[in-house]
Amino acid sequence: MSAQPLISLRGIGKRFGAHQALRDIDLDVAPGSVLVLIGPSGSGKSTLIRCINGLVRPDEGSLTVAGKAVDIHKESAWQALRTEIGMVFQDYALFPHLSVLRNMTLTPQRRRKLPRAQAEEQARALLAKVGLAHKAEDYPSALSGGQQQRVAIVRALAMQPKAILFDEPTSALDPETITGVLDVMRDLAREGTTMVVVTHEMGFAREVADRVVFMADGQIVEQGPPGTFFAAPQHERTRAFLSNIRSFGAADHA
């Protein structure tokens, strides 16, 4: 990789009690690239993605974002970092007591100190972009799962982050609403948004990812560009995982 990575992890380890969730992870994410993390459940994907913004605090290792080292033992450092790295969750996690618009203006007003009018203007523009301008005044409970997830994505975007982390963004969705969410993510990738995506959507990975990383037992087993990764996986575990996914045809919607 030629350019300096936007996000760089070195020797990241995390232990939950007796369970070693992550072991000596090195990972680089180039600016403007899409990195897809795949692996069986319990492999540590979700833990790893949370180590990038400190929702799970790594025990050891180092993290560099945009050339700046993050003090992984300091909560304030994590809080500052989180305004620069957005995150989208499996269960959307919109604040149910706030309108769609308020969900999107809350942190820009509080953390980016945007004036209310400007924050709302930006929010409406983002909502329009994902086809939900008419839902601005509604409460989350009035939206379908797919609509809520699109709001969650633009809510993260409203902070103008340097990168966005996606933790299985389509796993909780009905099949018919998945497409809309994946379309939005595809658009973001096209616009050059740096993304780290944990997903089971192999179609999406094949089509959009710049690099695919396969994890098992808290370690990175294999990684590469999607073309070679899917065509010629090197490791036995990768092959087993991919053939499982294919035979179930599970999440191959895109």
Partner: protein
């Protein structure tokens, strides 16, 4: 003895003065006890070291001792420890501490319905734990906990009648004081029961309005 309405009309100004004091003490104590509840629940949920143990102890102490004993402790006991509060503030403090313990539990119950997902989402947007609590968790917890918080507030209102024991001239005091001089037991107790009932119904009415408003996001 007949029910003497003229007597009640005569005593009405005194009863209204008592009512006004009851309202002042109760309103202040309700606001302060909800504040105590929010702070205590935050401390418990955020597991602030050491302090959360103190909160647990406080809640247990209040819930397992009689209110009257707490009241006498504050009014007669604290001066011995160098803190002499007026009648009014002794009353407010005892009701606040009493109801605060219950409000902590009410709000904590509400907080438990705020899932880990929302916490992660708030943190991922750069909110501090405190802001998460204030902007997200507390409003949601209050919505869920509102019925039980209302119950506690109603109990507080009714328990303000205990303050007659330290001589605070609230509604019950006025009644008992007049009865002890005029012996119009039936008239007086009937009157204050009706007044308390009206107070509680008013409080419930405002609480249901608040509940309706807080529930707006959840009606589709």
């Amino acid at each position: 003895m007949e029910f003497d309405l003229a007597y009640l009309a005569n005593q009405w100004p005194a009863l209204m003065r008592g009512l006004w004091l009851t309202i002042q003490v109760s309103a202040l104590s309700i606001v302060m006890s909800v504040t105590v509840g929010l702070c205590g629940a935050a401390i418990r949920v955020l597991q602030v070291p050491v302090v959360d143990k103190i909160v647990v102890g406080y809640v247990e102490f209040i819930r397992n001792t009689p209110l009257l004993a707490q009241l006498f402790f504050i009014f007669y006991g604290l001066p011995g420890l160098g803190l002499k509060l007026s009648l009014f503030w002794s009353g407010v403090l005892s009701l606040t501490l009493w109801a605060g313990a219950y409000q902590i539990e009410n709000i904590r119950g509400g907080l438990e319905t705020v899932g880990k997902g929302l916490r992660e989402a708030a943190f991922s947007l750069g909110l501090s734990p405190w802001r998460f609590f204030r902007l997200i968790a507390a409003p949601m917890a209050v919505r869920v906990g509102l019925p039980s918080m209302l119950n506690t507030s109603i109990s507080l209102l009714k328990n303000s009648s205990y303050l007659q024991a330290i001589g605070l001239a609230e509604l019950t005091f006025v009644a008992i004081d007049r009865i002890s001089m005029d012996f119009r037991t039936v008239e007086m107790f009937a009157a204050i029961c009706v007044i308390y009932l009206a107070l509680v119904l008013t409080l419930s009415f405002f609480a249901s309005r608040l509940e309706y408003r807080l529930n707006t996001p959840f009606r589709t």
